[in-house]
Symmetry: D2
Subunit: 358 residues, 4 copies
Amino acid sequence: MSSSWGTNIELSIFGESHGQAIGIVIGNLPAGIQLDMVDIRRQMKRRAPGLNIMSTPRKEKDEVQIMSGLMGDVTTGAPLCAMIYNSDQHSKDYSLLQECMRPGHSDYPAYIKYKGFNDVRGGGHFSGRITAPIVFAGSVAKQILKQKGIVIGAHIQSIKDVYDDSFGVDISSQDIENMLQQQYPTLNSHVFEKMQATIEEARINCDSVGGMIECAILNVPAGIGNPFFDSIESHLSPLLFSIPAVKSVSFGLGEKITELYGHEANDCYYYDDEKVKTKTNHNGGITGGISNGMPIIFRVGIKPTPSISQVQQTVNIKTKENTELEIIGRHDPCIVPRAVVVVESMAALGILDMMKDI
Amino acid sequence: MSSSWGTNIELSIFGESHGQAIGIVIGNLPAGIQLDMVDIRRQMKRRAPGLNIMSTPRKEKDEVQIMSGLMGDVTTGAPLCAMIYNSDQHSKDYSLLQECMRPGHSDYPAYIKYKGFNDVRGGGHFSGRITAPIVFAGSVAKQILKQKGIVIGAHIQSIKDVYDDSFGVDISSQDIENMLQQQYPTLNSHVFEKMQATIEEARINCDSVGGMIECAILNVPAGIGNPFFDSIESHLSPLLFSIPAVKSVSFGLGEKITELYGHEANDCYYYDDEKVKTKTNHNGGITGGISNGMPIIFRVGIKPTPSISQVQQTVNIKTKENTELEIIGRHDPCIVPRAVVVVESMAALGILDMMKDI
Amino acid sequence: MSSSWGTNIELSIFGESHGQAIGIVIGNLPAGIQLDMVDIRRQMKRRAPGLNIMSTPRKEKDEVQIMSGLMGDVTTGAPLCAMIYNSDQHSKDYSLLQECMRPGHSDYPAYIKYKGFNDVRGGGHFSGRITAPIVFAGSVAKQILKQKGIVIGAHIQSIKDVYDDSFGVDISSQDIENMLQQQYPTLNSHVFEKMQATIEEARINCDSVGGMIECAILNVPAGIGNPFFDSIESHLSPLLFSIPAVKSVSFGLGEKITELYGHEANDCYYYDDEKVKTKTNHNGGITGGISNGMPIIFRVGIKPTPSISQVQQTVNIKTKENTELEIIGRHDPCIVPRAVVVVESMAALGILDMMKDI
Amino acid sequence: MSSSWGTNIELSIFGESHGQAIGIVIGNLPAGIQLDMVDIRRQMKRRAPGLNIMSTPRKEKDEVQIMSGLMGDVTTGAPLCAMIYNSDQHSKDYSLLQECMRPGHSDYPAYIKYKGFNDVRGGGHFSGRITAPIVFAGSVAKQILKQKGIVIGAHIQSIKDVYDDSFGVDISSQDIENMLQQQYPTLNSHVFEKMQATIEEARINCDSVGGMIECAILNVPAGIGNPFFDSIESHLSPLLFSIPAVKSVSFGLGEKITELYGHEANDCYYYDDEKVKTKTNHNGGITGGISNGMPIIFRVGIKPTPSISQVQQTVNIKTKENTELEIIGRHDPCIVPRAVVVVESMAALGILDMMKDI
């Protein structure tokens, strides 16, 4: 699968940054789900560009049009197609990008793969803009999961070397809701100021920075996930690595668990009022690939935006010569803040797909 | 998919630690491939238990029997089924494990999922033993890829807090071959001694340790990988997370890339004798989800083996009471050394599956 | 899979008869294919309603809008999304159909499946109208296949009990092209007149008729198709059964081959100028599930349109009583003529999906 | 998919007629199902060769060995692997078959596909023998479905031009059970004698005959099946076409429905004691691709066994010359009687796969 994904639900994504429209088809949704369109618009806005100085000045309203699958605001069970027309494409000259390969971007490998026929304008189908339909689909998934009590929330865990706290073993749905009240969610309410300063410094230097996002999924019942090739980690990771610029995915303590002893890493069980819990949650709610009822915790690492305005060394694929490239354009000095809701959306789609009885 | 995996090739895995046999079916292999059975046995031995004091004393010859798909040693194009009979199962009493859930293991989530019907003996289908057929399949894949010039090798990057070096930007096939001459491959030839001491200390303390494995895939041509849901990262990560105890997967610099500036993280292109290369390889040979011709580099984090002989706190699922558990048995104090060839195997299977024209 | 389909290409279909739009996403198409838009419009017109007295008077221009995946008329390799806005929906009252289940339609099973939330207007997602995007996708597939020399054409083999001839063992690409010059292709040029009279008689009686369509796929190279679950028959049949009202699919002589002796049914091989051919083609170009280089021949049976204006016995699902139903509306007395191009399209999509190297 | 199949369950099949063993892996079965091994052996025997003069004299006990997935006779939820060792392979010389392509067989297309590396002994992976594991898997599926009240039974509908009756609109589970008491089930208890005479005549003439099998699936609840690409017809047909020699699949009246008027073809609904039924069942229990609660009825056409001992015209692929071929060996003059249980098995696997909540 490439543009499509899913076992119980079926996603199919399409669109280019500067094409007619971008969108998504979501097949196999349950019928009779009343969608909260106000909430969906709010989620879309969390990702939308142009909100402030940290993001690209491109103005896109990202208004979603439903083409099928809804009667009123209620799902019919037929494929739900949502489209977003592109409105603020700049008609600038992209011929340079067809020759000079931007470092860190898809340009060169895509040129080889598509023999030069791919749409390079604004990154084409590789643009981060393609995550807008993911946020739509993820918002639908979150609403369906919420009816089962499952709550999802993410926070910025780091911008470059500025780090937020990590989720503790005790997180409540209320904690997540409170956290998501912030435009740019963090656990330590003072840390975003420093993060913002780091981003601003990069912007002024025509540079960019990356960071990490940590996400929690609460109230997934124990027993979700499958051996051998379909653990929760195996099911979620390809979705998370589909987000442009994600280079690492880890669950629970992630790489840090490799420095513990077994007696530390094992999360001991106990009964809390007839419910099985663990005293720590180093495994992020998943053992043997299956949920154990504790919060599912994972973390993704996002590299600095490859689009920077500094002069860079590269190759000209037409002349077959080394060259210098300076890209003038609209760039995000850091996409991490806008990616928070994308990470939550992928988590929601992945978990919904694993819940056979929804 | 759960017990099966693949788009071009088709894997189906089966078996329990203490059942009759474990094995794998590999469908859709190209016909006419001459398999090197000596090499396959060598690869199997890299994973096999009982080799030394670091691994479980369980004796299993892990001899592979081919049930179908070969004439002589040449593939016929029909599904290749390989089986390994279990020989050294201990018939000890496993009733305790049906009640007392081992921390860090699949026991509790599997109990819920399978309503108590799962085979708990030796971890059943969740046992690390199930990776033996993966090594068989991966060895076949490596041999097919090698005919295309693609070479795969992994090394132990860390045991607990003892770290080996990382792959540099220039790695040759010869480097990989040299590295793989070591029984326990490392880049820094002196570091394994310290690693071994760390493992031995854990063993003596009835404890366990984890670590990390770094893997390189050389000579994958540029242009392999797909948008949106099928980047190389998305294609390899579920395979890697299917290896029991893997909790993190990252490509290139992984989490470390989040601390760089964009101008550092971008790997600049240059022509090296008509071939496009990058001066650094922070992106691990993948940009936009597609191979750029540089070595594909990734890293997995493996948690400490959950099987330890210390007394642990847990629950008894039958009596619904908190309890203590002491597991006497055959355990690996560290599975990382045996997992190196498993990681290589998963990499080979993933890349083979993405190469449409093999 | 439900709304999506495909192994090499990836289809995702959406839309309801009276919704905003219907459409399709085609993923994984080769890049650099110049599409002939004039031909695509011509193919769309072969299926479009309102052309004559035999088809529903609903007027739909079925104009396709490309949302993504093309630059000029050349494929970029990114998902190709095509949409057709619905324009001539009648806003009549559909409340009757939410209670009284039309015999022969999806109404009752869909009511149970979707708990009454499905869109019943004009058949909703079950409408034959949803085949319009299939014709678009199939036309693209036919153009790609044509570059490989593969030619596809179908004819009306029967309307009720009026039968056309069947394809002979020798069919040339030119034969197919000539046949497709007719608006309603038949092999016997006189038979359509009788077919038309049969349809007209049904129309006058507020009744409907069905029929059969036979299709030929020329120049598929020998060796396409797979064991065990993916024979050409297994690969094409689900596509063909996805066409609303198709109740039978057969290859070669179909059911008639069951009345032959083995020595008759076996198509004997001979060399015709270094090319292996068979003297008869009773197996329809497929033996062992794999193409043998002869024309692939198959036939589908289409039941009479269930929409008829006669009074019918049925149940009222709300009152739980038996009742009578009279449907006044726009119906095709026979959909077989419009389905010819749909059958060709499905054949093209199925074969394209099996050609790994396109 | 090729050697594997399934959405909820996961099948993977392997083996060649003269290889070490044939078998199947069934993934994702529910845990806690007590299998009736006596019944499974009885079902295996219905397909087994060597029972009488009508079938090949090859003696195979077809004894199934369970390699994984069972504890006692109860499913664990882990993949169930069943193997059948080949025992009565004749070590005769097969070199002729590597040059002279048997008409009607997979030989020539497989030679092209596998470049001559395929195992031709006894048909290799294309042998009808590979359906033995299907009968095992299908028997397991039938037992699981029976717990939900779903009953499956098939009868020989024709041998050459000798026809049995067809299922009526009223079939009870008891009718099916009674019918299956016969070794070779027919509805008209006198017709098998004539069928047998037809087969015997073919055998004496070194020829073969085919026939049709009709199958009923009772008590599938209304609402099973999906649009657009996953109707019940689309889901079952590839399984049925995977049975070697099947050339046609039809539902309900099949091709005969194309000769009816709409008012005849539509199955009118009525309430029978609060249960919705139809007065006729021309649509075979499926409208709009979804079950309507009536018996699901389908029919497959099986061509005459291509293996006949008569001299046949063919090509020698090595010498590139026309030649004559006379195959001496063990052949079934008619495989239809042995295929009845295979058809039932495929039906059971297909329906089980569509029942999400089992």
